[in-house]
């Protein structure tokens, strides 16, 4: 028996297919099978998408699902459910679990676990080096076979330039991008916030912007030489963005993502919140000038994707002083709404770019299926209600993580339903 779902009445925004407007979308057996002005429902179930935006399923390139190893902070089940509630149909899971995702066995476990639970799809990211120790390459081919879509040592920037060179060369065999958390730790010294006027005032040590830019510059040079595919994770500074812009113009194969929090908050938030650990993440919140540069990069296309860097911690781990708190906030359930409310609604980001940054952009960066609702594409759809009014209440998150600087924010616009492979995996309760 074939499963069919007809989405009717909504506004389709599919930049990759060049379709914006009233279209009816038919999903059959996990694929998009028809898109048109009029599509016969036939035996399909009809989903009334009136007043909703019909968008290609959102893909998050950067999340931490904590399983295996720290199931008290998040599990694959809670993480993928939270993703679906945030409008994401797919999530790329960073390898910094325990054990690290550096082997075929762990990678297969992640993929199979992801297939079993209801929610977004899971795409594992494999480690570049064994144990993320920066010393010995993992078996990229085996990881790719087990489902890895990219390689990264996550929070640990691969310092060893020679090793990075070989990683780019070897990863090319399997078409995998290398994802770098760009932070030269000899410059950042692990400081808990951004170095600037606010850190000077608060007496906290700071990570200078150049710690990110210097790392990006080195990575770009190695990528250029090897023709490797570099993806810069959670890019946060104007300097680093400028380097990526120039590298793209020079034909270097580089993509980058930014997070919602770096687009709407600055380091002043640390002071305003009186050292709340909800404002501590890595890279840290930067300055107004960085934020403005990132906004420009979203619109002009230098930035390929918006990613959450969803990094749940147990409340006890965050209920400590600012210096010793772990880096990281949750983001899956607020990302799209925050960006829509603060940027799209306020005319700072066109709707088509919004759709592309959450779907086509990330799909292209990692070479993933989806990112469009053209015929033949996976039936992964984000239905977004541009009029939804809601207040961020972390206690209602499906994620186990509660730490977010957006707690209490009143937002307009939010996910209404999430469809993965033609099945509604999450729906707002009132719909």
């Amino acid at each position: 028996m074939s499963r069919k779902l007809l989405l009717r009445g909504g506004k389709l925004v599919d930049p990759a297919a060049g379709r914006i407007g009233r279209f009816v979308v038919l999903l059959s057996d996990g694929l998009v099978t028809e898109v048109g002005g009029r599509v016969e429902a036939g035996d399909a179930e009809v989903f009334d998408a009136s007043r909703l935006l019909v968008l290609p399923g959102f893909i998050d390139l950067h999340a931490h699902l904590r399983e295996p190893g720290r199931e008290y902070a998040e599990t694959i089940a809670t993480g993928l459910a939270a993703a679906a509630a945030g409008g994401f149909t797919a999530v790329c899971a960073m390898p910094n679990t325990s054990p690290v995702n550096d082997s075929r066995e762990t990678c297969e476990f992640l993929r199979l676990r992801g297939e079993k639970v209801r929610g977004a799809r899971l795409y594992p990211i494999g480690a570049i080096t064994k144990g993320q120790k920066g010393q010995e390459m993992t078996a990229f081919g085996e990881l790719a076979e087990a489902g890895a879509v990219a390689l990264s040592d996550d929070g640990k920037w691969l310092e060893d330039g020679g090793l990075l060179r070989h990683a780019f060369e070897h990863a090319g065999l399997f078409g995998l991008p290398i994802v770098q958390h760009a932070e030269d730790k000899s410059l950042s010294e692990g400081a808990p916030m951004h170095e600037g006027a606010v850190s000077a005032r608060l007496g906290l040590s700071g990570q200078p912007s150049m710690a990110e830019a210097a790392a990006v510059a080195r990575d770009l040079l190695v990528a250029e030489m090897t023709h490797g595919r570099l993806h810069v994770a959670h890019l946060s500074t104007a300097r680093a963005l400028d380097l990526v812009r120039r590298a793209k113009a020079a034909g270097i194969r580089v993509t980058c993502e930014v997070t919602p929090h770096h687009l709407v908050l600055t380091d002043e938030e640390v002071a305003k919140s009186e050292f709340s650990t909800r404002t501590k993440m890595n890279p840290p919140l930067r300055e107004g000038s960085d934020l403005e540069a990132l906004l420009a990069g979203l619109s002009d296309g230098v930035i390929d994707a918006i990613a959450t860097d969803h990094a749940p911690h147990h409340a006890d781990e965050k209920a400590v002083d600012f210096d010793s708190a772990p880096f990281g906030i949750v983001g899956l359930e607020t990302a799209a709404s925050v960006v829509y409310d603060r940027l799209v609604s306020r005319g700072k980001l066109p709707l088509e770019r919004f759709a592309a940054l959450f779907s086509a952009g990330p799909a292209k960066a990692f070479g993933l299926p989806g990112g469009t609702l053209a015929v033949g594409a996976p039936a992964d759809v984000t239905l977004f209600d541009p009029e939804a009014r809601w207040k961020v209440d972390p206690h209602r998150f499906l994620s186990k993580g509660r730490s977010t600087p957006f707690a209490g924010w009143e937002l307009v616009g939010g996910p209404a339903a999430t469809i993965v492979a033609g099945t509604v995996v999450w729906q707002r309760v009132d719909l």
């Binding site: 170095e195 600037g196 006027a197 850190s199 000077a200 005032r201 608060l202 007496g203 906290l204 009186e274 050292f275 006890d316 209920a319 400590v320 002083d321 600012f322 210096d323 010793s324």
Partner: protein
């Protein structure tokens, strides 16, 4: 006496205070000084109130000064040092705080190595919180006692030229002093070696220089900061001798300041590193006045935060 009051239950820093609140604290401290000069140094103002001194970092001056202030005001005090406490057994800061709360203290005086810990406690506790130093962030009672000392010697704060020199980066004393002095209309210059001057500290409203001689020209007040030798492990400053040559205060250098200029130091001093003994022990030095004023300032803080009924025994 008539006192106004502070707007909050806590003293977390000088930054949130208004000039009126600063003046209130200084005036109250002035009237507290008399108590220390009596034969019987005790008034019943805070009888029955409990103050916990929670020190996660070593302190001699500040802790003794708070304890003295508590005793003279008749508060009951409990001393907690991280060493030998349940913190060493792995208790979290939040649990320590909750356990303290269960004993219903009225006020907690906290010293901690990390910025923002007093703010964290203030969010979680019903008791008032006094910041006795949080990392390199603030040390409000130090700035208040410095201001009291300056006012006593020079009669005012407004319009004075104050030079603060030394390890600016790691100093909570300098940040609280910048807030206080700029709010009260003094002109502040901070000076130190480039490796110990945080970038953009000038955005706090101060002049910044690495030239110590220039910084001393025409100063009314010279405040020397302690060189935090324990933090200089890496590539901060090559040698103590080189530091003293460029940033040490001796009598010859001090002659660039105004003739009536005073010299201050929050202690503990490194003689021969940031300050020469010929200056530290001279008539220009008000370093011991600072210590004496510390008790009066802390009495004022405790008294005002605990809602101070009129001082009994005052005429």
């Amino acid at each position: 006496m008539t006192v106004g009051n502070l707007r909050t239950k806590d003293l977390l820093g000088i930054e949130p205070l208004t000039p009126d609140e600063i003046t209130l604290l200084l005036d109250t401290a002035e009237s507290m000084r008399a108590i220390g000069q009596r034969a019987i140094k005790k008034v019943p103002a805070l009888r029955g109130r409990m103050v916990v001194n929670l020190f996660f970092e070593a302190s001699t001056r500040t802790r003794f000064s708070f304890e003295t202030a508590e005793k003279w005001l008749s508060a009951d005090s409990l001393n907690f040092a991280a060493k030998g406490s349940s913190v060493e057994k792995g208790e979290s800061l939040l649990d320590t705080a909750k356990n303290l709360q269960a004993m219903s203290p009225d006020l907690i005086v906290i010293r901690h190595g990390s910025p923002g810990v007093p703010h964290f406690l203030a969010r979680h506790l019903k008791a008032g919180v006094v910041n006795a130093g949080d990392g390199a962030h603030e040390h409000p009672t130090q700035a208040l006692l410095d201001a009291l000392t300056i006012r006593q010697r020079l009669g005012r704060l407004e319009g004075l030229r104050v030079t603060i020199a030394g390890d600016i980066a790691h100093s909570r004393v300098v940040r609280s002093n910048i807030w206080l002095l700029t709010k009260m209309g003094a002109k502040v210059t901070v000076c130190g070696p480039p490796t110990l001057l945080p970038g953009r500290i000038e955005e706090m409203g101060v002049a910044v220089t690495t030239d110590f001689d220039a910084a001393l020209d025409g100063a009314d007040v010279v405040m020397m900061l302690r060189m935090q030798l324990e933090r200089q492990g890496k590539s901060i400053f090559p040698s103590v001798r080189e530091y003293f040559r460029h940033y040490g205060l001796d009598a010859k250098r001090l002659s660039r300041a105004k003739p009536e200029a005073i010299v201050m130091h929050p202690g503990p001093m490194n003689r021969g590193v940031e300050i020469a003994s010929d200056v530290a022990d001279s008539g220009r030095s008000v370093i011991l006045d600072q210590v004496a004023n510390g008790v009066a300032v802390r009495m004022a803080v405790l008294y005002l935060l605990l809602g101070g009924h009129p001082l009994e025994g005052e005429s």
